[in-house]
Amino acid sequence: MKMLSVPLSTLKLGEKSNVVHLNVIGLLRRRILDLGIVPGTVLTCIGKAPAGDPIAYLVRGAVIALRSEDASLIVVEQV
């Protein structure tokens, strides 16, 4: 079965994914990389703010929150 590549922001609560590609640029890209979000990393969506945005993800044992427009620039495949 072919794995679909989707933006991270489309992940629903509890869903896991593997990072495929980063479309982020500039300072945000550096931050994302330094937090350990590199191709191959497992990201799990574990919470959304009351307004639906930002979204909290589990990354290498820590919880990082991103705004959905930034999360949409991270391409993942669902696991």
């Binding site: 350990g36 191709p39 703010a49 820590a62 919880v63 930034d70």
Partner: protein
């Protein structure tokens, strides 16, 4: 903008390797980071053993409530109200105790002055003006600060504050600001100068500036006494709730108003003089950890005591001395203070205040906590704070000087919205390095305070409500 010789051999190699850096689709920089994490992942798998796989502790479930749609906001309001209530109610007894000790010592001082037969004016300046104000400010400021800052630090150490930023980020994003601004606002409740410095947690310079310029709309501990005093005496008589609960409720409402102004001004700034794209938010939500309450209180108490005492000595004492002098030096048969108040009166009345109140705010530029002492000293034209341990006495003084509901209401509004204190302005200058922005930080609240009070006062006059 290199200050180095472009022929510097190192820089030459750097530009030569440009192609290598950008080769193969992914920049080499990314590869370097990926390699590091590949190694740490393998290493961690080797040395860290999870004995109970997949067991979620109760702590993991806290967030389900804290950031939930239903409970998230109410919980925040509840915690905020609780912190205020604890600060206000908890400060009552210590304030009274410190006041009675310090005021009793004043009698000792007076006795000494009499012993050396010091002239009355010297006694007036040093004891009635300087010492009395210093005592009042310490008694009123130290307990709330000693409660508020530790509580805030506890929430921070607990890990709760990032969740607040998480919950409110969406609202801030709409104002083109950063969610972390709410944390600077929280800090501003304790002290606006601290709130301005706290804006360092915001990475984008534009958003940082917005946070700095609007921090003033959050009332600091120095303004609480003003707000509480007026709220208590003018509201308590009409309702049957306990004074501290009512005061807390009133403060919460004013704070929410301040928050509303913060959003409005942030939004306006980002549409006008601080235009720009919203930057990205990358916020870590650390696990909840039980803080060491004792250590936090101990450290906070020491820090805050030093801060309050230093400000009382450096700002309040001289201000008290100055006020006493102005109140007891006469131009003709009018004291200087009454004279200045008279000059300011027309403008003040137009915004629903009176000349003495406006003058007290102006003289209170060095520190907000001296506004009430100065006001009282000027009303009581002997320039001396008489004994009043009950706010009832305060009410009598105010009523005797023509206070109406409008005066009370507008004074509270003005206290909330007016220019920042000198310490905050200084912090603004240090943090921004810009005279222009510091001036903006002064002028924006001032214009808003005058405008809002003007509109309300004029409306009240027009509708015959006063």
């Amino acid at each position: 903008m290199s200050t180095l010789n472009p022929l510097d051999p190192l820089l030459k190699i750097y530009s030569d390797t440009e192609s290598v850096r950008l080769s193969s689709g992914t920049p080499i920089a990314d590869r370097v980071v990926t390699d590091i994490f590949a190694y740490t992942e393998k290493l961690t798998q080797r040395v860290v053993l999870r004995e109970d796989c997949l067991q979620t502790s109760w702590k993991d479930n806290i967030d389900k409530i804290v950031i939930s749609r239903v409970f998230g906001y109410p919980l925040m309001l509840l915690l905020l109200g609780t912190v205020f209530w604890l600060t206000i109610a908890g400060a009552n007894v210590p304030s009274a105790m410190i006041a009675s000790v310090l005021f009793a010592f004043q009698d000792v001082l007076t006795h000494w002055f009499q012993l050396v037969q010091a002239p009355a004016w010297l006694h007036g300046v040093l004891v009635l003006g300087m010492y009395r104000t210093l005592a009042w400010v310490t008694a009123v400021m130290l307990p709330p600060m000693a409660i508020f800052f530790p509580l805030f630090t506890l929430l921070e150490d607990l890990g709760y504050l990032p969740r607040v930023a998480f919950n409110l980020d969406n609202m801030f994003k709409k104002a083109n600001a950063c969610g972390k601004q709410c944390l600077t606002m929280c800090m501003g409740f304790g002290c606006n100068a601290a709130g301005v410095v706290a804006a360092r947690i915001i990475d984008s310079p534009r958003e940082r500036l917005i946070a700095i310029l609007t921090n003033n709309f959050v009332p600091c501990n120095g303004r609480f006494p003003t707000l509480i005093a007026i709220a208590s005496i003018f509201m308590a008589s009409t309702l049957f709730l306990s004074q501290s609960l009512l005061a807390a409720g009133m403060i919460t409402l004013l704070v929410l108003l301040g928050v509303a102004f913060t959003f409005a001004v942030s939004w306006t700034l980002s549409k006008t003089i601080l235009k720009g794209e919203p930057s990205s938010l990358v916020l870590e939500l650390p696990p909840y950890r039980l803080p060491k309450v004792g250590a936090v209180f101990y450290r906070s108490l020491i820090d805050r005591t030093i801060f309050v005492l230093r400000r009382a000595l450096v700002v309040a004492a001289p201000a008290g001395a100055l006020t006493w002098i102005l109140a007891n030096v006469y131009i003709g048969n009018v004291s200087v203070i009454a004279y200045i108040a008279g000059v300011l009166d027309p403008i003040a009345k137009a915004i629903g205040l009176d000349g003495f109140i406006l003058m007290a705010f102006i003289l209170g530029l060095p520190a907000n906590e001296i506004v009430v002492p100065i006001l009282l000293m000027s009303y009581l034209s002997t320039g001396q704070l008489t004994e009043f341990n009950s706010l009832f006495e305060l009410k009598k003084v105010l009523l005797a000087n023509g206070w109406t509901w409008l005066t009370a209401f507008n004074t509270m509004l003005f206290a909330l919205l007016h220019w920042p204190c000198a310490t905050t302005l200084l912090s603004m200058y240090k943090e921004t390095g810009s005279k222009k922005w510091t001036f903006m930080g002064f002028i924006i609240p001032t214009v808003i305070a005058f405008s809002v009070c003007f509109i309300i006062a004029q409306a009240a006059y027009l509708l015959g409500l006063v």
